[in-house]
Every structure is written in C-alpha cells, then in structure tokens.
C-alpha cells in the first residue's frame, strides 16, 4: 500500500546491509518480547475502510442532520469552500514545521499573516503562531504570568465566568508548581468584573476573564484592567474571535494577554478538535510568551522573507529553563483561520457577528415570552445566553431532539445554583424559521407539562 518495496528491492537492500533477512536487524530487542502477535483486526482495503467509516459516521447525528443551538465553547458556523480547498493542498498539509525557511516560505508567510490578523482582531501588539486550543492558551497565559514575576507572585485569579474546561485545564497544569488558583467559585458567577477586585494583592500575578463569558455575557473590562494594573498584576482576556467582529477588542480595555478559542474561524466542530489556541500579548512581554513566532527579514539575495524567530525562548534551546514545553503549534488550523479571516475580511466578519447577535437577541425575546422560561441574566450578551427552564434541561433536550433540534448546554453541571438553566447559542446558520421552531417546541412542552 504505502510501502513501495518489491521482493527484488528487499533482497538487494539486505545484501547491501549484509544480513540474511529483515528479522536479523532486530537482535537488540530482547528475544522474549520480540515480534509480539498483535491482536488487531486484519487489514482492510481503502474501499472496505471507507464503507466501515461511513457506517460509523452515520451512527452520529451531525449538525447537518440537526438544527444546532449548542455552543458552550464550540460553535456551528458556515465555512466558506475556499478554506478547505486551501488547507487540503498537499504543499500545506504534508509540510513539516518550517525549521528550514528556504523551503518553507509558504507556511512561514501564512503564519506571519495569521499573527497580523490576530493582532488586528484583538487590538494587541503581537500574536504567536497558536497553541492547542482555548483551554491550553489560558494555561499558557498562567505559565507566562508565573514566568514574568519569576515566582514572586504566584496567585492566579480565574473568573467563574471562564469556561469550566479552561479552568479545569489550568488546575491540571499548575499542580506541580507554586502557583495557586483563586476566584473560580461558581457561587460568585454573578458578581461581575468588580467581584474579582477582592482577589487583587501583592501576590496576584494574573486575572483571567472571558469575553463574552461562558454564559455569553459581555462586560466592559476597562475598570477591571485599571484595578489589576494598580495591583501590579496582568489581565488576560479569553475571547470568542467572532464576537470581536462586532465588539470592542480587549486591547482597548488594556488587556495584557488575549487568549481565545479559534474554532469559530472556519474550523469544523469535529467533535472537539483539532481547534486553535489564540494567544496575543503586548510587545513588552514578547520574550516571555511561549510558542512559535514568525518574523520578517531578508535573505542573502535581498528578498523579503520570513523565519521562526526568538527561538532561544523555546524548549529545544532552553530545555528545562524554557517558559513552556510547547513544541508544535496548530499550523494547519491556524492556516484555516487565516484563510477564513482573509475571505471574510473587514465586512464579512462584521456581518457574521451581527447575524449572530441579532438572531440570538430575537430568540432571547421570544423565549422569554414563553410562560415558565426566563433569561438568566440582564447583562448584555453576544450570541449565547442562559435560560431558566420550567423543567430539567435533559428532559427539554430529549424533547427537542424529537423535533430535530440539538438543544442547549446544561449549566447545572458546572454551577449548582443554575439547576434547570440551559445555555443556548445562535449563529448565522440558524434561520428565523429554525428559531421559531425552537420557540414553538419549547412552548409546546410547557403546554404539555401543564396538561399532564
């Protein structure tokens, strides 16, 4: 299949090496454990495996089969055809990390443009070439803040409105370090940005908030940034990049670090990955930032060209002294986001953001009119909001599924006080008809329940 050797090739190669058969090459392997019989299914041909995979895939209900109102950190957006046609080019997806710039200018320039677009979108000075996802990008922000203060400030404040997976990931990352995490108390969810002030002191290294937060709410963080800076700490804002098509960028609030889940930028849902960890910061912190970075320079022929730069920060040079062990970035996924931002551009991204915004607000108004349902918060929101329901969320979702609707996220899982609260998300993929069907289905449930 993908091994091209003929019998004659093998014979000639073995003779050249000076051994009788291939097995002889493995004598360094302890005999007792050499050549185990692997208990795996026998090989399938391409035709057979595609049939098998078709069957497995068809056991899933996709967002093509269902109307999707589920968000909570991963969003169903339209992906222009251009995106996949570019990232499916073998020259991009079968290329290696661009350590050899002379034959990697395509990848390098694409990353450079990714960095340019991310800084423009977030209002920050520099972006790295990306991290694994939104959760690990926050963990890297914690890492960077720890490195910035060299252990003199070890307290990290996480807003309870930060995605639960992001908070859990940070807790995992820091378990071997002197860093400690405060603030992520579910019961303080409604305290707003001011509620974090009480955690600021001389040991605070970093405050992390989300924009829009996990419940879709949007706050102005200007005052918080001032307070955080007054305490000598850094502010990180985890963003949804689509929201930044409409909303003030965190750079304007005075954020020191912007992280984000880049999935909404043209990346398929793909059951949670691979996604894209956005990471941008201020110029003064660039040397403490982890991850790959591409810079512009010239070659020995005087041409403009690109190269991985400041590599001396990274693990392959600094080894145990590096800020992070990060090695890969999300190369191809960052390319997809770059193509997405290029094709949508200034106008397209604003349109998508506004479509999301208006549809969500239409839905919120309609749902709040259904007896028994009410909005979980009065705060401004972007394209996602919490709804208090008259029935358990799981029951509602089962009912919605019968109508071909993928319902919302059960907030009670992460916030005990939000039992029977559902988080619903709206994008340009949801037509008014879809939203009306959702509203009708919810109303019907209430009617049925009251008759039962």
């Amino acid at each position: 299949m993908f091994i091209p050797h003929t019998e004659a090739d093998r014979a000639a190669m073995l003779e050249k090496i000076g051994v009788q058969d291939i097995q002889e090459l493995f004598e360094a392997v302890p005999e007792k454990f050499r050549f185990p019989e692997l208990q795996l299914e026998q090989a399938a041909t391409e035709m057979e495996i595609m049939q098998e995979l078709d069957e497995i895939a068809s056991a899933n209900f996709s967002v093509r089969d269902l109307i999707c109102f589920l968000g909570a950190g991963a969003y169903n957006h339209y992906i222009p055809s251009v995106v996949d046609s570019i990232i499916r080019r073998g020259e991009f997806y079968t290329a290696y990390t661009p350590y050899q710039p002379e034959i990697s200018q395509g990848t390098l320039q694409a990353i450079f443009e990714y960095q340019s677009l991310i800084t423009a979108l977030t209002g920050m000075d520099v972006s790295n070439a990306s991290h694994y996802d939104g959760a690990t990008a926050v963990a890297e922000a914690v890492n960077m803040a720890y490195a910035q203060f060299r252990g003199k400030r070890n307290k990290m404040v996480l807003s309870p409105g930060l995605h639960p997976h992001y908070r859990q990931t940070v807790h995992t990352y820091v378990q071997g370090t002197p860093v400690y995490v405060v603030g992520d108390r579910p019961e303080e969810l409604n305290n707003g940005p001011d509620g974090l002030n009480k955690y600021l002191d001389a040991d605070t290294a970093l405050v992390v908030v989300q924009y829009p937060d996990f419940l879709g709410r949007v706050y102005d963080f200007t005052d918080l940034a001032n307070q955080v800076h007054h305490a000598g700490a850094l502010l990180a804002v985890a963003v949804n990049p689509i929201a930044l098509g409409l909303l003030k960028p965190p750079g304007e609030f005075g954020a020191d670090i912007v992280t984000g889940e880049g999935q909404p930028l043209g990346i398929p849902l793909s059951y949670g990955g691979p996604y894209l960890g956005i990471f941008a910061t201020r110029q003064q912190y660039v040397r403490k930032m982890a991850g790959r970075l591409v810079g512009e320079t010239i070659d020995n022929r005087g041409q403009r060209a690109y190269v991985l730069t400041l590599t001396a920060r990274e693990q392959h040079i600094r080894r145990e002294k590096a800020t992070s062990n990060i090695c890969t970035n999300q190369g191809l996924i960052a390319l997809a986001a770059t193509v997405y931002m290029s094709i949508l551009g200034k106008h397209g991204l604003r349109e998508v953001a506004e479509l999301c915004y208006h549809k969500a607000h239409y839905a919120a108004k309609k749902i709040a009119e259904i007896p028994g349902f009410s909005l979980g918060s009065e705060a401004p929101f972007f394209h996602e909001f919490g709804v208090r329901c008259p029935l358990p969320v799981s029951e509602i979702n089962e009912h919605l599924l019968e109508y071909g609707i993928l319902g919302g996220y059960d907030l009670g899982q992460d916030y005990p006080q939000l039992k029977d609260h559902m988080l619903l998300a709206f994008t340009e993929m949801n037509s008014q008809e879809d939203i009306d069907l959702l509203v009708d289905s919810l109303s019907e449930m209430v009617t049925e329940a009251s008759h039962a």
Binding site: V29, M50, I86, Y132, T172, E296, S431
Partner: protein, 488 residues
C-alpha cells in the same frame, strides 16, 4: 519575486464573501461596547485563492519529496485519511452533544484506545493530549500524582539522558520536577553506572526514548526498567520513535510505565506545517486511575444484535483535564483509518521496512559520513557532517545544499551529543530508488565539500529564497503586517 502580504493586496470596498441579510428584527447593539474599527483586509475570492496557492508553492512537502528527518517520522499521509475525517458524521458533530447522538464517534475513540493499548502493551490509554509535548506533560503529571498518592512527596527527581529531545526537560520543569541529566555510554546506551548512582528515594522516574535519538535500541532496556522500578521510580517512554517498534516490541512489555504516542509521526496523520499533532498516552495498571478525564468506556455491554453503549468516565485519581473536550478527534479518525488499513501484519511490515530503509542508507553513507555509533540501527541513524580535510564545512552547509537536490535536509545539530549531527530517518514509505538518489546527493555533496566548498557555503541556490538573516529577524522583530516594532 516575493509574494505580497495580505495587507498589500487589500483594496477598500472589495469583498470575498457575502452573507444572507438578517432575517429577524434587528436589536440595538450594546452601547459602548461596539468596536469602531475592524482593521481586516478587503480581498476578492480570486485574489485570496491565488495568494494562498502561490504561498503553497513556496513549500516543500511530503507530497513533493522525501523528508529524511530524524525523530520526526515524516511518512506519506494517505489521502483516504483526509476523506475519512471530513465525513459529515465526524467533521460536523459538536463535542457537547448528548452521548447517545454520537455513538459512532465514541465507538471509534474506544476502538482506537483498544488498538493503541494492544500496540503499546498498556492496559489503559487516554486520547486527550494534543501533541507529543502535551502527552509528555500528561505523563509526568501522572508520575508525580502516583508518588504523591503513595505519600512519596520527596520523589521529584526525573532522570533524562543527554540525547533526549528538549521537550523532556522542559516538561519535567513545567510539572515542578527536578531534572538530572544522564550521560550515554560508548555504544550510545544509557550509562548504567550513572543511572544506578541516581536510583534513590528521591527518584521519581526516568524519561527514556527507545530507540533513542541516535536511532539505537537501548540494549539494556530490561535492566534499566528493573533498576528504576527497584528504586521505586517509574519509567516514562517518549513515543517519538515508535515507528521502529510496531509489532516489533511493545513498550509496556519492556517495563515502560507511561508512554505517549505521536499519531502525527507513527500513525500517518499529517504534520500540517507544524501541527496539529496528537499525543495519546498509554499507562500501566498502576497508573490507570491517574489518567486525564474523561476516558471513553462501555457503559452497557452489547450483544450480537445491539452494539454496546459508549460513554465517558473519570478515572478515580485523575490528574484532571489537560485540554478542552476529548482530544484531536479529527486525528483519531485518520489514525484509526491507518491502523485498520494495515492490520497486525501490516504494522509489523511498516516498522520492518522503516528499519530496513534506515540501515540501507546507513551502509550507503557510512564510509563518507562518519557514523559515531556504528551498529545496526533502528528506524534512523546519526552521522556527522564534518571532515578533517574540509574544515570550514558544517552540518548546516550539507543540510542547505541538499535542498538544491530536492530533498528536505535531515534534522541537524541534534542529538546534542554528536558533533555536527545529521539525523537521518527515511521512513518505510520511501522506495529504493528514492533512497539511492538521496545517497547519491549526499555523496556528491561530500565531494563538493572538499572540491568546491563555496557552493555549500552559499547553498541553497535553487530555492525560492536563500539563507536568511536570522539576526535581523530577532533584532527588528517585525511580527506582523505593516508594523515595524522597536527592538526591546
């Protein structure tokens, strides 16, 4: 001519994409929170496509030729993988859907866990880590959690051979462990005496790459794992070089307690110009309870007519979650496809031919390029790019000159213990003709090194750009379009 930047081809008023009009009554935008400027480019679809297509043509890639890139396993990426991952039942499912609507995805993940367990010889696997270094972090945190669970909080010392990849020490430091470097012996194995001297009550574990980064199978592997275990430590296996071991030996059988697999190296998922990777972790029975949460399990056994019901569980003493959701699912589909297409006999053939190819090249080159640890190698070997009679030539010059012959250079200056190292890994997907052509290019370059050294120093000549001014890049730090930032 260099390709212009996006900001250069942007023209006010141009559009690449149009969206339907808003079909619901509009709401008021949030006061004070709307941005005034969105400084993104304005480009037509044609121009976007041409820009990125032209950029793609500046890249080298597996689809264009061989990457003899030691420690990175750049094998062919089957096209069927790409179709598989894009099936709508895989690409268009939301990670938080109720599990009964994604039983196919869970079945595939469960089966992939089973396959990786079998191939690595481990009773438990987590698919969650996003890349090799991420798998390492997961593994070291598991080792740490294991010792703490037993009250051994003083066990913080992680031993790392001097030939190891930089992520090993970086990961250990990030997990709050103390790094101690171990020397290699004259045959390229771990120095057993040095190892013994560190086997004490502070030992947390040893991070071992086997075959090591010299491409050599650790000849004392059983003695090493026994010694570490006897001292109460655990052995971490860096799976970067797993392509030598499929159906050859199972790391779990050799006494490795935790290992990360690189789906993007061994199991043919594409490197994508630097990611996404995927670094599942396999562990021994002792460590199964510490795996990151969640893992895929069977909730209700099936029978002949009904498939099992799959769901998630959280291991009892889990280190926690290492990323959002469950891992790089799109990569799982590709790796599953690959393993199913090879089956048990095919996987063994993969490693056999990877090793055959490496040894063939070693023999073709070793009289011209010194191979400091010259014994039968596994899937890669390390040669030196230096000659006494060509004193100004370095491994870098050899590497750059190779580009003129349409080959990607080998990994160079790594491992650190070999001077002017050229680390060569051909993989099983290269034919004898390609290997012969590569060897011929290498031999010709060795001749040029003596007869025409300038052509090496000024190489490459045939590439879109020549050698770059890396000092300028680091000094001026121009990191985005249209902005020239001052150096700090």
């Amino acid at each position: 001519m260099p390709e212009p930047q996006l900001c250069d081809i942007s023209v006010p008023g141009r559009r690449g994409m149009r969206y339907p009009a808003v079909d619901v009554p509009k709401s008021e935008l949030p006061a004070g929170l709307v941005r005034e400027e969105l400084p993104l480019p304005e480009i037509s679809e044609v121009d976007v496509v041409r820009h990125f297509t032209r950029l793609s043509q500046l890249n080298y890639a597996i689809d264009l030729g061989m990457y003899p890139l030691g420690s990175c396993t750049m094998k062919y990426n089957p096209k069927v993988n790409e179709d598989a991952a894009r099936l709508s039942g895989f690409a268009l499912i939301h990670p938080l859907q109720p599990v009964d609507t994604v039983q196919g995805a869970l079945a595939l993940m469960y089966e992939l866990q089973e396959m990786l367990k079998e191939i690595g010889g481990f009773p438990a696997v987590s698919l969650q880590p996003a890349a090799g270094a991420h798998g390492e972090l997961t593994g070291v945190l598991i080792i740490r959690a294991y010792h703490r669970d037993r009250g051994d909080t003083q066990r913080k010392k992680i031993l790392i051979p001097d030939s190891a990849h930089g992520t090993n020490p970086a990961t250990s430091a990030m997990a709050g462990m103390e790094v101690v470097q171990l020397p290699s012996d004259a045959r390229g194995n771990i120095d057993l005496e040095a190892l013994r001297s560190h086997c004490d009550e502070r030992l947390a574990g040893l991070m071992l790459t086997n075959p090591n980064t010299l491409g050599l199978f650790e000849e004392n592997i059983l003695e090493i794992t026994e010694m570490v275990h006897a001292a109460g430590g655990l052995v971490y296996g860096d799976g970067a070089n797993m392509n030598a071991l499929l159906g050859i030996a199972r790391p779990g059988d050799l006494g490795i307690d935790v290992l990360h697999y690189n789906l993007h190296k061994t199991f043919s998922t594409p490197h994508g110009g630097g990611g996404p990777g995927s670094g599942p972790v396999g562990v021994s029975e002792l460590l199964a309870d510490f795996l990151p949460a969640p893992v895929v399990t069977i909730v209700e056994e099936g029978d002949e007519e009904i498939p099992p019901l799959y769901g998630y569980s959280t291991p009892a003493k889990s280190i926690g979650r290492v990323k959002a959701f469950y891992g790089h699912f799109g990569m799982f589909v590709r790796a599953y496809t690959y393993i199913r297409m090879y089956g048990p006999d095919g996987l063994r053939k993969v490693s056999e031919h990877a090793v055959l190819n490496a040894n063939y090249l070693r023999v073709l080159l070793k009289d011209t390029y010194r191979v400091p640890y010259d014994r039968v190698c596994m899937h890669e070997f390390v040669a030196e790019g230096r000659w006494a009679d060509a004193p100004d030539i370095h491994a870098l010059d050899v590497a750059k000159r190779l580009m003129d012959f349409d080959f990607h250079p080998p990994t160079n200056y790594f491992p650190l213990i070999v001077p002017e190292a050229l680390m060569i890994e051909p993989t099983e997907t290269e034919s004898k003709e390609t290997l012969d052509a590569f060897a011929a290019a290498m031999l010709r370059i060795a001749e040029e090194a003596r007869n025409n050294p300038d052509i090496l120093h000024s190489a490459p000549h045939q590439t879109p750009v020549g050698r770059l001014d890396e000092v300028k890049a680091a000094k001026e730090l121009v990191l985005c379009c249209g902005v020239s930032a001052p150096a700090i």
